[in-house]
Amino acid sequence: MNIAPIELAGAAVILLLGSAVLAMFLSRFQHLLVAVSFSLASVASLVALVAGAWTVSSNIANQAVMAIGLPDLPFHLRLDPLAGFFLTIVGGLSFFVSIYSLGYVKGIIAQRPVTRLVVFYALFLAGMFMVILADDALFFLVAWEVMAAASYFLVLFEDEHLENRRAAFLYMVVAHVGAIAILLSFGVMAGLVTGFEGFHGYTFDAMRQAEYTPAWATAAFLLSFFGFAAKAGVIPLHVWLPEAHPVAPSNVSALMSGVMLKTAIYGIVRVTFDLIHVFPWWWGALVLMLGLISAVLGVLFALMQNDLKRLLAYSSVENIGIVLIGIGLAMIFTSFQLPLLAALALTAGLYHALNHAMFKGLLFMGAGGVLHAAHERNMEKMGGLIHMLPWTSGLFLVGCVSISGLPPFNGFVSEWLTFQAFLLSPSLPSPLMKLLIPMGAALLALTAALSAACFVKAFGVTFLGQWRGQHAPQIHEVNWPMKLGMIMAAVCCLFLGILPTLVIDWMDSVPEHLVGSKISTTAGAFGWMWLTPVARERASYSGPMVFFVILAVIVIAYLILHVKKGSIKRVPLWDCGFEKVTQRMQYTSTSFAMPLRRIFGFFFSIRERVKLDPQAAHRAFPGKMHYALRIRDRFWGWIYKPLVDASFLMSRLVGKLQQGRIQTYLIYSFVTIIFLLMVTR
């Protein structure tokens, strides 16, 4: 059989575009529409997943040229191990989410027509696949815009709320400012290839072979990094993310957080390691620093949220930070000619990108299940859902454990690899970096610990305890397609955590292509059980051993304790002898985060107000108490508010020209013509 992976990937894109067209004809039969389009989307994702995984494992690069596009500027496609790796991530999660959507979107049909959701969902997936396949600046930007525009309409799906329209607008603005920066960056590189004389520098192949002067290379890097960082939600360019991700339908949120952010990571890796490929160490230091800031602040912001989906969105900022830490370290090691360490750090970063796609997708799908069942996003009003949603809660717990970086699940493996990369930094020649880089490990440790606190809160408040709202609604477990999508993602989390050696062995062609070294020769040197990234004496971790020993102890302890049939008595809650304990006495999301809010409060702008309603009897016995708490991102006030104000001011000034009278406009035209005649003669 003579099929190249790139043909498979192309077929996936065509299938998605076809399903988008088909959806328009099926819009009268909504149930059929959902069944057909999401089945097609899941088949297409599976095909893309196979193409990607195949490319990575066979370590090949396919190319293709399509005779569409502008005249004489055809589209170029390429599928190399890096693209294949990201295609696997996107394809994998899209497959799970498409299966999930079969059940999830069915629940929306009753409320509103879903044609728009279905069409843009397919376009969104196609856009992401095309971004990864693109091998020239033109096609890349076209695909990038398809992805951005489709996701804009998806964010806007429930457009009757003002909040959603604002979020979508903000998203659009940031996405376009970023896209302009990426366009300029490609312009700089393409221009330098031909000395700003021809157009034929627009292919990535031409850019790869060109030599750049340090100044131009830096300009290109900074522009593209700005653009991609805006898409990835790196702090301080993150403000759109916690607004836009939560308001989209949950299956779309899962894709936006799980994989759309990864396309930006892909862009960063592609531009730095592949296109420019020679760079000074401080680029890496910049990426590392922004990664650390995003990781720590992202998780702190996440801790302060009461909206489940907003919490997850902020946690994406944190995880993108962790991915960037790995990539930044890899850049530093590369610039000091330490390819093995660079391969380790890059593997850590990319592994975390893969892991984050799985557990964040799972968590957003779980949040979608909660939203679907309880019609509630505010954690302060939820509680006790574990009794009503046994499947969703169990699967959500897997996501929480994974994202908190606890063994034997996958989040731990990538964090462990990142720690190992940090601890190898003493082999750097510069004494200052030797000193400063291990401090980054402390910040990563802080991030990991805080994210555990954050997800104890998310799970504990949402699923444990008792319902906090006024009256508990009728809540039913989610349907089978939704369960199936989540189960597959959860199994992936466990698999990636227990058998990292197999995964690293598979993905080793990526660092081999980019930094010229691979770690699987040492990482799997002691068999598939032990992960030993550099040497066995240096560090080793065995996922299977940890998993099975803990399991064995649990089983043995359980069996020993149940030899004699001990009785379990179920009794009402112990109320310490006072009056009845009510559900209003439980710790809430706000109160859980209170100690950390007090300790790290200086990062936020917090306004806390307590007002006591005096009662007639005495001042010492207030009747009612009003409590208001507002926590805001300081970056909004520092960076965005001035920009917004300035742009409003500008538009007001410009607006004064608009009188609305045709005579005035004719005078403007006349004056302009006279002026131009004077200037140009």
Binding site: G384, R538, Y541, V546, V549, P572, Y587
Partner: protein, 313 residues
């Protein structure tokens, strides 16, 4: 195939399971003597555990499976941790499966589930305990990892066996980095094991308890597993400190060496108990929000250790 390492592994796990209650008994005895009370004896913790194991379990009506599962996972991680730290021999099969970072993460699993269990019933105390425990942990964990990183930078490895061998062979050199790391480790261990001045294991006063607040609803064998795991955790932290910073007498393969290592371990634990009791008797429990300074200084110590490693060594 050499079966000796496996035998040593099993033996070490059994020994830790067996002596953890005695160590806690020893600490309580010392404390009683220092405070001029009569003691309940070294073996009182065993009797407590036996009593709890024999009792029926009483569960709240709305307890979920998390509540019943947590004691087992806490016990499981503590047992695995007991198999990882090279106490009797450096040649342990389980020691290769997990390094110092995994060890910290193992305790984090136990904490994660304990905190969830605290929130499961839906009482105010449970949530309060969980919230405080996670707060303290998120400050203590970076300091703990920094201390471990300092040691592992000095040893060039995060594997515990390797660290022990390197520190042991270079023991004659006085290393300032290790001294700072040790101080940080002591402060963090007090927080991680819930001792005074961070938490008081004997208190059941509503507003001061942290760890106990999460276990308030437990009874019977579940509580026994928690208590036992807690005793093991305390013993393991003391043993970890002894192993990392004073690795004298740890065997490298023969039975006699392991026997000797056991005697050394007992002596070191006895000494660690005395230090612990002196600290606990000399200090009062801190307010929750003073802990930032306490753990901050632990972090600072560890950072100083790391700096001095790069500057002085």
């Amino acid at each position: 195939m050499n079966l000796y390492p496996f035998a040593a592994e099993m033996l070490q796990i059994l020994i830790i399971l067996a002596i953890a209650p005695a160590f806690v008994g020893w600490v309580r005895m010392l404390k009683c003597w220092l405070q001029g009370r009569t003691t309940a004896g070294l073996f009182q913790p065993y009797r407590d555990l036996m009593k709890l194991f024999a009792k029926d379990v009483i569960l709240a009506e709305n307890a979920s499976w998390i509540f019943r599962f947590t004691p087992y996972i806490v016990f499981g991680t503590a047992t695995l941790a007991g198999g990882i730290i090279p106490m009797l021999s450096v040649d342990l099969p389980l020691a290769a499966s997990a390094d110092a970072i995994v060890l910290v993460a193992l305790f984090a699993i136990a904490r994660f589930f304990t905190s969830l269990a605290g929130m499961d019933i839906g009482t105010a105390f449970g949530g309060m305990g969980s919230s405080r425990e996670m707060t303290i942990a998120s400050l203590a964990e970076p300091a703990m990892l920094m201390a471990i990183f300092t040691v592992s930078l000095a040893a060039g490895s995060t594997s515990l066996s390797q660290i022990v061998q390197v520190v042991f062979s270079g023991q004659s050199v006085l290393r300032p980095s290790l001294a700072f790391a040790f101080l940080a480790f002591v402060l963090v261990s007090l927080a991680e094991t819930g001792r005074i001045p961070v938490d008081n294991p004997t208190t059941h006063l509503e507003l001061t308890m942290i760890h106990e607040a999460m276990l308030l609803e437990y009874s019977g064998r579940h509580l026994a597993l928690f208590e036992w795991a807690g005793m093991m955790k305390l013993t393991l932290f003391m043993a970890l400190g002894a192993v990392l910073f004073f690795p004298w007498g740890i065997g490298t393969g023969s039975i006699i060496a392991s026997g000797l290592a056991f005697v050394f371990l007992l002596l070191k634990l006895a000494a660690a108990g005395i230090v612990l009791v002196l600290i606990e008797t000399g200090l009062a429990k801190m307010r929750l929000f003073r802990l930032t300074e306490f753990l901050g200084s632990a972090f600072l110590m560890a950072t100083l250790g790391m700096l001095s490693f790069f500057i002085l060594e």
